[in-house]
Amino acid sequence: MNPIKKLFDNIHPYVEEGGKFHAFRSLVDGFETFAFVPNTTGRVGSVNIHDAIDSKRIMSLVVIALLPALLFGMFNVGYQNAAACGMLEEATFWGMFWYGFLAVLPKIIVSYVVGLGIEFVVAQWKNEEIQEGFLVSGILIPMIVPVTCPLWMLAIAVAFSVILAKEIFGGTGMNIFNPALITRAFLFFSYPSCMTGDATVWVAQDTILGLGYKATDAYTAATPLGEAAQAGFAGFTPETIQDAITGLIPGCIGETSVIAIALGGLLLLWTGVASWKTMLSVFVGGAATGYLMQALGLTQIQWYEQLVLGGFAFGAVFMATDPVTSCRTECGKYVFGLLVGFIAVLVRVLNPGYPEGMMLAILLMNLFASLIDYCFVQSNINKRAKRAIVK
């Protein structure tokens, strides 16, 4: 017998009902189901064979799809730090990457420890299995905050969103809002000075374990969208847009590189985890609205620039496509996506206070997703009702 299996078999009596360490049942169960595919077989009266896909595999796949953006984000943290200190010539690729790695890793750890900790406790309390949803949220959260976000803030925000945006609704699959975006919204409204604006939040300015550089004066770097919101803006240079596509611009950790996001997006589309309908229509909606705003003379940003700047691409690929909080009907996905793109660009252009609109657009549409679905489901219901009357 497999020694690890044996180990779990030996632990079992302790964590089962009445065992000494019953409080750790969900924890042991969580690890065991990750180590081994459960051996439980179908009950009498249900289908006798099952597809091998399960939510663990799906969630792991999304995490894999996020890795290019995450790894690039780590590099970019180091790159921005070197650029801020004027040390780009001196800095090495690995030096910048390790600096970023050390800057981001604590955030990932805090996010997972706090979020999964709550998940374990809730699973234990409800006597259920651990739900894997937070595997994705836990990696998304560090990627959509500025690198300077303090860890204690992150911990509070994660706890807030896991409890109030997810668990009180019944856990993964039952939540209305995307938990990762709720985390960001919480930070955004509670600690605005640490989250937005042209302040010093976007670039790490100190050394970490001897790596990186210390800025001599407080360095202020605005995101390109922040620049665009300022008076006297006359359009981006091609270099800025090029940097936005490769990702070498200031911004939240994981959102900057369109190329890295596209790699993950392709994996999600190929495996069918994300709906191409939602993803495509977000881009279409954003582009169309961007074009309209430009034609009306409301903004100097070209329509295609809207799609590569800020969190638009990241939101379209990883956030809007969340199957739980977006529309569940196939036609609804088009409407949902178009409206996300529309509102995101609308907020960017018309809201003077804050240059980014993707987070609010997706959260708002999360709220309306069920309403959109309702319309399409209702049309099916009406058709059936009509059929009954005609006869």
């Binding site: 017998m1 497999n2 690890i4 299996k5 189901t33 990750f34 180590a35 081994f36 595919v37 459960p38 051996n39 439980t40 077989t41 179908g42 009950r43 009498v44 009266g45 249900s46 289908v47 006798n48 064979i49 099952h50 597809d51 091998a52 896909i53 399960d54 939510s55 663990k56 595999r57 799906i58 792991s60 796949l61 299995e129 739900q131 949803g133 019944g170 856990g171 993964t172 699959g173 039952m174 190929w270 495996t271 069918g272 985890v273 709906s275 199957p323 739980v324 977006s326 529309c327 569940r328 009907t329 196939e330 489901v377 099916n380 219901i381 058709k383 059936r384 059929r387 009954a388 006869k391």
Partner: protein, 442 residues
């Protein structure tokens, strides 16, 4: 020319161990049993006592609410046991078969319905809504018969039909006296007895499983509205009716497929409804840790070799149970030999020809519904399957009605249950929903 209805949604699962076209006979064992649970929705009332002598065609039990619906013995012999379980629930009535078989003679001249009721054939009719045994007081708008089963490892009815074409046609013609008959035929079937069947409307269905499900066919031909009733009958049961009309006696002999990866030589067997499975399975399967399924792998019930051939079973499937597989790190390993519709596995690389051995593991934990549109991809009806399931779980009867619960049977959700990444027991959920709804509407 028959109308061709093309279905795009669905999934054909290619399992190892398909039955070869060869019919074997098995030794007739001593005991037969009729299991009331095979006839969903019936409250059985036993009309025989242990020790009574019965002929083939004599009633063993009747429906308490409709005593004219009789459930008859497939063989002649002595009632050896009336088996009861908890709270005196009737589990089975066993008949020890005589050496020399005698059958009750029925008058085939009269009304078809009373003949069917008297001879126990009416009990095989099922009705939509609720997917239960038909109610003789109803006036159905149509009777649907599906001439093919698209589920994996299922019986090939065209093969079974060979030599019984006349009986099949006689059965269809008799049914046509009760209501309009619709026959669903697969695009792959060419037998004239099917494509040119008389006294019925033939519709050709071209598409993956569950195209052979009669529920799918009803939905595309003449969907069930609230207040309407449709009856359905298995194709082989139409032959039962034909035999009865021809000989005046009941003959519940089926040609079933014994198939699955754990069957040594999968082929067809001539067996009788209620026959003990031991007669079929002894020496023919790799018994160690095998799951024996009374019926199809997608819809049938797990049983043991001691079980009895189900009344509606057209095949017996045997697959590995797999409860000692101990597969490591399933969430990340490539698992090349594993079948999945999902592209995170590699079965898409190997094409549709590759045959898979799938064991009975659920292969994941039960979750809330997370992914969207999974069911709709394999659910070829104009129904929002996910929403209907949610309405059933929530117990919202009005919404279930509005979303079309009257049109579905548990078996229609079998493929959706297979692909579900949240591992919900859809067939069980639908069955329970239908039972509650029937009680409410009674």
């Amino acid at each position: 020319m028959a109308k061709v209805i093309k279905l795009r949604k669905g999934l054909d699962i290619n399992l190892k161990g398909k039955a070869t076209k060869e019919i074997a006979s098995v030794k007739c064992p001593g005991e037969y049993a009729l299991v009331p649970d095979d006839f969903t929705g019936v409250k059985p009332k036993v009309v025989v006592k242990e020790g009574d002598a019965v002929k083939a065609g004599d009633a063993l039990f009747v429906d308490k609410l409709h005593p004219e619906v009789k459930f008859v013995s497939p063989v002649s012999g002595t009632v050896s046991m009336v088996e009861r379980g908890d709270r005196r629930k009737l589990l089975s009535i066993r008949v020890k078969a005589d050496e020399k078989q005698e059958a009750r003679q029925f008058d085939t001249k009269g009304d078809v319905k009373s003949l069917m009721l008297e001879s126990g054939l009416f009990a095989f009719l099922r009705q939509r809504p609720y997917d239960v045994v038909a109610n003789p007081e109803d006036k159905p708008k149509a009777i649907f018969v599906s001439a093919f089963n698209s589920m994996p490892l299922s019986q090939d009815f065209e093969y079974v039909l060979q030599g019984q074409e006349a009986e099949f046609q006689a059965g269809l013609s008799a049914l046509a006296k009760l209501a309009k008959v619709y026959l669903g035929v697969s695009a792959k079937q060419t037998a004239k007895a099917l494509t040119e069947a008389k006294d019925c409307e033939v519709n050709v269905f071209d598409g993956p499983a569950p195209a052979g499900n009669v529920g799918v066919q009803i939905n595309h031909v003449s969907p069930v509205n609230k207040g309407e009733v449709v009856w359905t009958l298995g194709a082989e049961e139409v032959i039962f009716l034909g035999r009865l009309l021809k000989n005046g006696t009941v003959d519940f002999t089926r040609t079933i497929a014994l198939a699955g990866s754990e069957v040594k030589a999968p082929k067809y067997y001539k067996v009788m409804v209620g026959q003990k499975l031991t007669s079929l399975l002894e020496g023919t399967i790799n018994a160690e840790s095998a799951r024996i399924i009374n019926g199809n792998v997608m819809t049938g019930l797990k049983t043991s070799a001691e079980g009895w051939l189900g009344a509606h079973a057209t095949e017996v499937n045997v697959i590995p149970e797999g409860d000692h597989a101990d597969e490591m790190l399933g969430w990340i390993m490539p698992r090349f030999n594993t079948f999945s519709t999902h592209r995170s596995y590699f079965s898409w690389l190997f094409g549709k020809k590759k045959e898979y051995v799938i064991d009975a593991r659920i292969k994941g934990g039960e979750r809330h519904m997370i992914m969207s549109g999974e069911y709709d991809k394999v659910f070829p009806m104009d129904i929002y399957a996910g929403y209907l399931i949610k309405a059933i779980i929530a117990g919202d009867i009005d919404r279930q009605e509005a979303l079309g619960i009257y049109e579905v049977a548990p078996e229609d959700f079998a493929i959706a249950e297979f692909v579900d990444s949240s591992k919900l027991e859809l067939q069980r959920i639908v069955r329970e929903g239908l039972d509650i709804l029937r009680k409410e509407n009674a």
